[in-house]
Symmetry: C2
Subunit: 341 residues, 2 copies
DNA sequence: AACGATGCCGGTATCGTTACCGTTATTCTA
DNA sequence: TAGAATAACGGTAACGATACCGGCATCGTT
């Protein structure tokens, strides 16, 4: 019961094996210049002592860690989950492991809190590079490779992968228009996101392209969560002239519309057409017509790009656009002809 | 263009601010004993240089990191996703951030590879403690608090949280039995998991409790994935006397049964009753009757336990059992009376 | 006026590991 | 057999940060 040793270090291994730390480090990293007997002895000491090297200490001296960082504000929302699936797929077949960093909540302690923490993860080679789905301001000095997914408008210079939000939005609108809808409500997402703005532009352009005007009472803004979407949907559907179709900024928003429609006794698609964006895994079960933006694919590609960056291989392009695709299910239908009274 | 500085360190901040590193460290950690003018000056230097402290370096000297580790072999399967949701909820309202470590694939490089890596994450206080959903052998020396979720049978001594797998299994079987089923197929999970064995024991005990015998041809073993479940389901359903109901080891397994039933033209629940285990988020959409084991709740509770451990507060119990609950949807129906020919 | 208390700051010793350079003993070459 | 090459290992200096100790002013006491 002598002294309470917190953890067993390379020092302990070295001294009980009767060698220097250098030698232990050599066998740890599989380098040459160590007799096979010595190797075995050291290995058995490692086993019996239960030694594991410290990630932190190693990253301070070592250059290559074979570790990729993923930075997310919140890992529990569907978009994040899908991204992670893609990244998981990519790293599973690579030599890299993954370290996901999150604070659990975007609102935790303000912007500064996050930026500071985010960058310190990838700073100084704890990871070899990082994928981010949050804004990382360029004022922070980092030489580590970064790839961002669906980036914030303020995200500068970094390579990124994003979906063709504008085109996807146009596709969705064309579909709705072709079904005869003229009063189409819109529930937008967080205005600070580039994706959000692109989708809204697609909405507007399609409307004017069809010779329609943009009715501001039909345009609401949420934050991509189901909760606020419910409020927006209520607003839209209690209008004197409610829309016949609603274009939701993302699938979670669409779910909010479903909820409100249900509580108001509106049937989808009979009384109201709804179209979403994202195609999260739940969408197919509720029959939501939506725009697939292959989120998981974006994670997969981002990882591949990052690995290239780490290996100093050239990128085909700084930004990779993933094509969206309209997925028609059964939440939309052609508008009934106007009943003549 | 003089020398290419990789990253900006506390040294750089100190020298350009004309103070010592100690002082910079003090303002960084919000300690007293530094003049407010000096503070401001240092802060502005930090901003203009884009300095962020290195997580690795900090963890070597600092004791408290306000970081919780989560160790998972694969972050893309539904169980892991649900656990993460619960953990995310718990840390969002805490002072801790989360670091998830994964290799992306259980089969990546064998057991030793993983154990080594897993422990080195939490070793030496990169994190203040860790939650694990994988086996961590006790031979590794760590003083950091560990809480394990749904632990492997070989997981020793560590505090853990798990569902009442046995009781849940019995509940499911009683339900099936009450519906008149007598030939109930079983698709088990990975036999090295304690949860798996408990569920199987519930299956067996319920059968003999009802005066039935255990037909070994009705018992198959998968690995909790949909792919292998499909093989097991095929095996079961092509039997001379196929079962009238199938108890799937988890919901993903149940999905495999759905797939096979569909390709064989069997309607659920008309021609075949199916019951699952887990109640993952997809299950409600496909109308699967299952046993909810509140996975996300397990993650939430594990996090709370870990935080207590970190703060040296006493735990109410070393193992926390989360009660399961049968969720009846529409994948089961009463067995038709035997048609008299 | 002399003293201690306090505010503010710098210096140094680590933390655990790897990179780099030395050092010794042994074997090989000519 | 002398010299050089090699094998096998040890010593030391970082990496970037914090903890701890101590030093100098300045201020308030009695």
């Amino acid at each position: 019961m002598s002294k309470k040793k917190a953890t067993v270090t390379i020092q302990d291994v070295a001294s009980t094996a009767g060698v220097s730390v250098s030698t232990v480090s050599r066998v740890l990293n599989g380098k040459a210049d160590v007799a096979s007997e010595t190797q075995e002895r050291i290995r058995s000491v490692i086993d019996s002592l239960g030694y594991t090297s410290s990630l932190a200490a190693r990253s301070m001296r070592s250059t290559k860690m074979n570790l990729i960082g993923l930075i997310m504000p919140d890992i529990a929302y569907p978009f994040a989950l899908e991204v992670m699936k893609g990244i998981n797929r990519a790293i599973a077949e690579s030599e890299y492991d993954l370290l996901v960093y999150t604070t659990g909540d975007v609102r935790k302690s303000g912007r500064a809190y996050h930026e500071q923490k985010y960058v310190s993860l990838l700073n100084n080679s704890l990871t070899d590079g990082a994928i981010t789905v949050v804004p990382v301001s360029a004022t922070f000095s980092t030489t580590a490779p970064i790839v961002s997914i669906d980036p914030h408008i303020t995200n500068p210079g970094y390579p990124c992968v994003h979906a063709t939000n504008y085109q996807g939005s146009v596709d969705a609108m064309q579909y709705l228009l072709s079904l005869g809808h003229k009063r189409i409500g819109y529930i937008g997402g967080r205005p600070e996101l580039a994706s959000s703005n692109r989708r809204f532009k697609g909405y507007c352009d399609s409307l004017v392209g069809a010779g329609l005007i943009i009715d501001e009472s039909l345009v609401t803004t949420g934050d991509f969560t189901t909760e606020t979407a419910i409020q927006c949907a209520r607003e839209l559907l209690t209008l004197d002239q409610p829309p016949t179709a609603i274009f939701a900024g993302n699938d979670q928003t669409a779910m909010g519309v479903f909820t409100v429609a249900d509580e108001m006794g509106l049937r989808i698609p009979d009384d109201l057409s709804v179209i979403g964006f994202d195609n999260i895994s739940e969408s197919k079960y509720i029959g939501l017509t939506t725009v697939d933006q292959f989120i998981s694919e974006m994670g997969f590609i981002a990882t591949q790009m990052l690995i290239k960056l780490i290996n100093h291989e050239p990128l085909e392009a700084q930004t990779h656009k993933v094509k969206t695709q309209l997925v028609i299910r059964k939440s939309c239908r052609a508008l009934n002809q106007q009943v003549v009274r």
